[in-house]
Amino acid sequence: MQPAQILHPRPEGLYCPLADLYIDPVRPVARALITHGHSDHARAGHGSVLATADTLAIMAVRYGADFAGAQQALAYGETLNLNGARFSLHSAGHVLGSAQAAVEAGGCRVVVSGDFKRQPDPTCAPFEVAPCDVFISEATFALPVFNHPSAEHEVRKLLASVAMFPERTHIVGAYALGKAQRVMAELRRCGWEKPIFVHGALMELTELYKSRGVALGDVRHVETAPKSFYAGAIVLCPPGALQTPWVRRFLDPVTAVASGWMRIRARARQQGVELPLVISDHADWSDLQRTILDTGAGEIWITHGEADALAHWCESQGLKAKALHLVGYGDEEEPSAA
C-alpha cells in the first residue's frame, strides 16, 4: 500500500482514510488521535479521542472532563486495529504522556513523531525508536545552529546566578506543561532543596504530574507576601507572565526563560531575558538526524518547523523527503505564545 493511502495531510491535520481518523487535528473532527497534551496538538471538541492515559488526563485538566464526546486510552506498545489500520503508540520523550503514533496497513508502516526529544528527562518516559518505512517528523529546531546543551548544564547556570545574587528573586519563564515540571525535577537533581514557588497557571498541571508519580518536592503557589520574602527564591511562571504586572511583587528580579529558542540571542533579547536557559523539549539538529537514521525509514515527511533545512539534509543522505507545511503547530514554544 502507498504511504499516502495510509496518511495524508488535510487542512484539519494528518488524515487516515482507512480509520477515518485525524492525528492532532487543529479543528474539531469526529475521530482524533492526540500525540501529546500541548494546546497546539490537543484541542477540545472532537467526537472521540484516542491517546495515552496521561495525555487524556492532561486534556481533562486543561479543558474539563468533557473535552471530547468519547475517550479511549492506549498504552505505549499496545495495538488497536481500526478497519485494517493497526495503530500503536510509542514514547516520544517530549512531555508526560507524549507519544509517537505508528500506523501500519498493507505491509507499510508510517510513524508520526509528534513533538519529540532524545535528551533524558526525569518527568517522562524516554524516546523509543519505532522502525518504519515513512517517518513523519517535526522540525522545530531543524537548523545546524541548534545544538542544545544538557538541561543540567543550564540549571547549574541558574543556580550559579542564584548564588551570585542571593538578594534577588530568580523568575524562570517556562511553559506550563512539561517544561516547568522538567525544570523543577532538574533543580532537585542538582541539589536545590528549598521550596520552588510557582505562578497560579502552573499549579494544576504540576499537581497532575505529582499525582502521576513524578517527584517534584516542595512546590508552593506564590502568595501575597512582603517582597523580601522571595529574596533568593526560584519562582516559575508561564513566559507570558514575565511581561505582566505580576512580576512587580518581587524585589529586583532576574528574568530567565527556559526554551530552545534561547540559543538565539535576538530571541532572548526580544523578550527582555537576562538569563537565557537553553532547555528544550524538542530534538536538536543532531538528534533529528540521528533519529531519522535510527528509524530506518527511506522516506521522511516533515510536519512543521524548519522543514526546508531538514528536507535538504535528508536528500543529501539519499532519503526521499517532503515538507507538508502543516499550519497551526509550534505555538507552544514560539515566543509569540508568550
Binding site: 545546524p144 545552529v145 540571542r265 535576538a266 537565557p276 535538504h312
Partner: protein, 546 residues
C-alpha cells in the same frame, strides 16, 4: 578574548542602562591597556579592517558548512557573526585565555590578505562559542549589544570622573587604542589636545511639534528655516599643532565621513566648525533625498560619481570660529557670525540656509504648505518641513526641551493589501517583519507599490507574524507570499513622506519612508485603494512640482 567576550555577552543580555554602565566601567577599570582601548574602539564603531570584512566570514563558513543549510540558518538567526559562531564545527574548545583582543586586532591589521582566511579559521578553532561570536562581531563591526557609542563614552566619563561632554570634546583628539585618553582619565596625563580644531561637537537636536503646541508661543521669539532633507553633518577645519591644515567631515553621531566626500573636505579652507545639511545640487537646484541616496549607496567614490552628484553643505549654524567656541552665544548672534562667514568664503562648498520670513504662525503654516512659493523656490523638492528655533537659544548638546522644533510635512496615507512578507534581521530576526504591499490596478489585480518594515508596535509585530505564518500561500526562500484575494487578506494603512515616478518599480511609483501606520483588521482587501487613487497623490506630492 575571554574578558571581551564575557563583557559583550553580559551587555547583550543586560536591559538596564545603569547596569550596562556599571559593567563597562568595571571593564575599563580591570582591563589593561591596550586591550580596553581596542574594546572601546569596537564599541564606538571606530575599528575597521582593510581586508577582514563580512565577506571573508561568509567564505570561511561556505568552506566548512553546507551552503544551503548556512543560508537557511543565516536567514533564521539574522546575524552573520552569530550564525557562524553557532554553526562552526566544534573543535574540542580550548581556553580563550591565550588570545587577547589586542592579538586579534593586530593580527587583523598586519596579516597579509591571502593569509587572513587561514588565520581567522585558526582563531575560530581555538575559541569556544562565545569567543567565536565576539571575534566575528569585531570583524563585522555591528555589535548589536545595545550599547551606543554615546553610552560607551558615558561609561568612560563615569570611569574617569568627568562629564560626558568633556569626553565628547576631546574624543577626536586621540585614536584607538586611546592610551592617552585612559592616561588622562586615570590622572596620569594632561587631556589630549584639541588644538587642531578638527574636533566634533555633539549636535543639537529638535523636538517634533504640532500647531496646537506653538499657538500660545510668541512668534517673535522664534526664527524659522526650511528643514532640508539631506544628511546632518558637521564641517570642521583648522590647523594642527604643527600648523598644517586639517579638515574633517562628521556625521550626526560623530563618525568621520571625510573619506566619502573628498570633494567637500578639499574645499574646507577655513578655520571654523559649521553645522548644516549635506545636499546634492545639479543645474542650480537642490535635489531630493532619493538622488542623494544614490551617492550614499556607492562604495567607492570615483571622479565620475563626484561629478554626477556634486555635494555641498547648506549651513544653519556656526559652532566655533578660530579658537573661539561660539556655542554659548544666543542663536541670533551665531546666525550673524554665520552669515558674515559664508559671505567671506564664496568659493567654499557651503551656502546659507535662508530664514523663512513670517509675522504670524499662519504665515509660517502657509510657507510650509507650499515651500516653492514660500521662499524655497526651485529647491522646494528638498524641503521636508520647517524648523522653528528660539532666537535666544544657546547651542546645547543632545535634545534639550523648548529650543528647537521640527514641524514636518504631513505624511500621505493609503490603504494597501499585504502581499509578501520577509523575515527581519537583528532584533527582528525570525519574525516576518518586512512587508510588501500593493493596491488594485484597473485589471483588478494587486500591484506591489512598496515595502515597509516599521511603524508597528512589538505586540502588533507578533500579530502580523502570526497572520503571515497562518496565511502563507507560497514560499520563495526567506519570502512568504500571503493570501491576498479580494475577500481574504490583510489591509495595512501605510503612511509615507513622498511619492515619485519610477521606472524601476513595476507600479511606476516609488514611496519615500513608507511605514505601517495602522493595521486595518476591520477591512477586507477589496476596500483597499487603487493605483489610480495613489497616482492622484502623485500630483499632490512636492516631488511632482518640477
Amino acid at each position: 578574548m575571554n574578558r571581551f567576550a564575557a563583557l559583550l555577552d553580559r551587555l547583550a543580555y543586560e536591559p538596564r542602562r545603569l547596569s550596562k554602565l556599571a559593567l563597562l566601567e568595571t571593564y575599563f577599570r580591570e582591563t589593561p591597556d591596550p586591550d580596553r582601548g581596542w574594546a572601546l574602539a569596537a564599541m564606538t564603531g571606530a575599528l575597521t579592517f582593510k581586508h577582514a570584512k563580512a565577506g571573508l566570514i561568509r567564505n570561511l563558513a561556505a568552506g566548512r558548512t553546507d551552503p544551503v543549510l548556512f543560508g537557511l540558518s543565516y536567514d533564521f538567526v539574522g546575524d552573520l557573526a552569530e550564525t557562524v559562531s553557532l554553526m562552526w564545527p566544534a573543535n574540542e574548545a580550548r581556553a580563550n585565555a591565550e588570545l587577547t583582543i589586542t592579538d586579534v586586532v593586530e593580527g587583523l591589521n598586519t596579516t597579509p590578505k591571502d593569509d587572513l582566511p587561514a588565520r581567522v579559521a585558526d582563531w575560530l578553532d581555538r575559541l569556544d562559542e562565545n569567543g567565536r561570536w565576539a571575534l566575528l562581531k569585531l570583524i563585522t563591526g555591528a555589535l548589536r549589544i545595545g550599547v551606543s557609542a554615546r553610552l560607551a563614552r558615558t561609561a568612560l566619563a563615569q570611569f574617569g570622573g568627568k562629564s560626558p561632554d568633556q569626553i565628547e570634546d576631546v574624543w577626536h583628539a586621540d585614536a584607538p587604542p586611546y592610551t592617552h585618553l585612559f592616561a588622562w582619565l586615570e590622572g596620569r596625563a594632561e587631556a589630549p589636545s584639541t588644538q587642531t580644531l578638527t574636533r566634533f561637537y555633539p549636535p543639537m537636536l529638535s523636538h517634533p511639534i504640532d500647531p496646537a503646541e506653538f499657538a500660545p508661543l510668541n512668534h517673535a521669539d522664534f526664527s524659522a528655516e526650511w528643514k532640508w532633507d539631506g544628511i546632518r553633518v558637521q564641517a570642521a577645519a583648522g590647523r594642527d599643532a604643527g600648523g598644517k591644515p586639517v579638515s574633517r567631515l562628521y556625521s550626526r553621531t560623530g563618525e568621520d565621513i571625510s573619506a566619502s566626500f573628498p570633494d567637500l573636505v578639499a574645499g574646507f579652507e577655513f578655520d571654523a566648525v559649521l553645522d548644516g545639511e549635506l545636499l546634492i545640487r545639479r543645474e542650480g537646484r537642490v535635489q531630493d533625498f532619493n538622488t542623494l541616496q544614490q551617492r550614499l549607496n556607492r562604495k567607492s567614490v570615483t571622479p565620475k560619481l563626484i561629478a554626477e552628484f556634486p555635494a555641498f553643505i547648506r549651513c544653519y549654524d556656526i559652532l566655533a570660529l578660530g579658537d573661539d567656541d561660539l556655542r554659548a552665544l544666543p542663536l541670533f548672534e551665531r546666525r550673524a557670525k554665520l552669515e558674515a562667514f559664508i559671505e567671506q568664503h564664496p568659493f567654499a562648498p557651503i551656502d546659507l540656509s535662508p530664514l523663512i520670513p513670517f509675522d504670524t504662525w499662519d504665515a509660517l503654516a502657509a510657507a510650509r504648505a507650499d515651500p516653492a512659493n514660500g521662499g524655497a523656490g526651485v529647491d522646494a523638492e528638498a524641503v521636508e518641513g520647517v524648523m522653528i528655533k528660539r532666537r535666544d537659544a544657546p547651542y546645547l548638546a543632545g535634545r534639550p526641551k523648548g529650543y528647537w522644533f521640527k514641524w514636518k510635512r504631513d505624511p500621505m496615507v493609503i490603504d494597501a493589501v499585504l502581499m509578501y512578507a520577509q523575515r527581519g534581521s537583528g532584533k527582528r530576526s525570525s519574525f516576518y517583519s518586512d512587508y510588501t504591499f500593493g493596491v488594485w490596478t484597473d485589471a483588478g489585480e494587486l500591484s506591489p507599490v512598496g515595502k515597509a518594515y516599521f511603524g508597528f508596535t512589538d505586540e502588533e509585530l507578533i500579530e502580523l507574524d502570526k497572520f503571515v505564518r497562518n496565511n502563507t500561500t507560497n514560499r520563495f526562500g526567506p519570502v512568504r507570499e500571503v493570501t491576498h484575494t479580494r475577500t481574504k487578506g490583510l489591509v495595512l494603512e501605510v503612511a509615507f513622506e513622498g511619492l515619485q515616478r519610477s521606472t524601476r518599480h513595476k507600479s511606476g511609483i516609488a514611496m519615500r519612508f513608507p511605514r505601517i501606520s495602522r493595521i486595518r483588521w476591520d477591512k477586507t482587501p477589496k476596500d483597499a485603494d487603487t493605483l489610480e487613487d495613489v497616482s492622484k497623490l502623485l500630483s499632490l506630492a512636492p516631488e511632482a512640482e518640477r
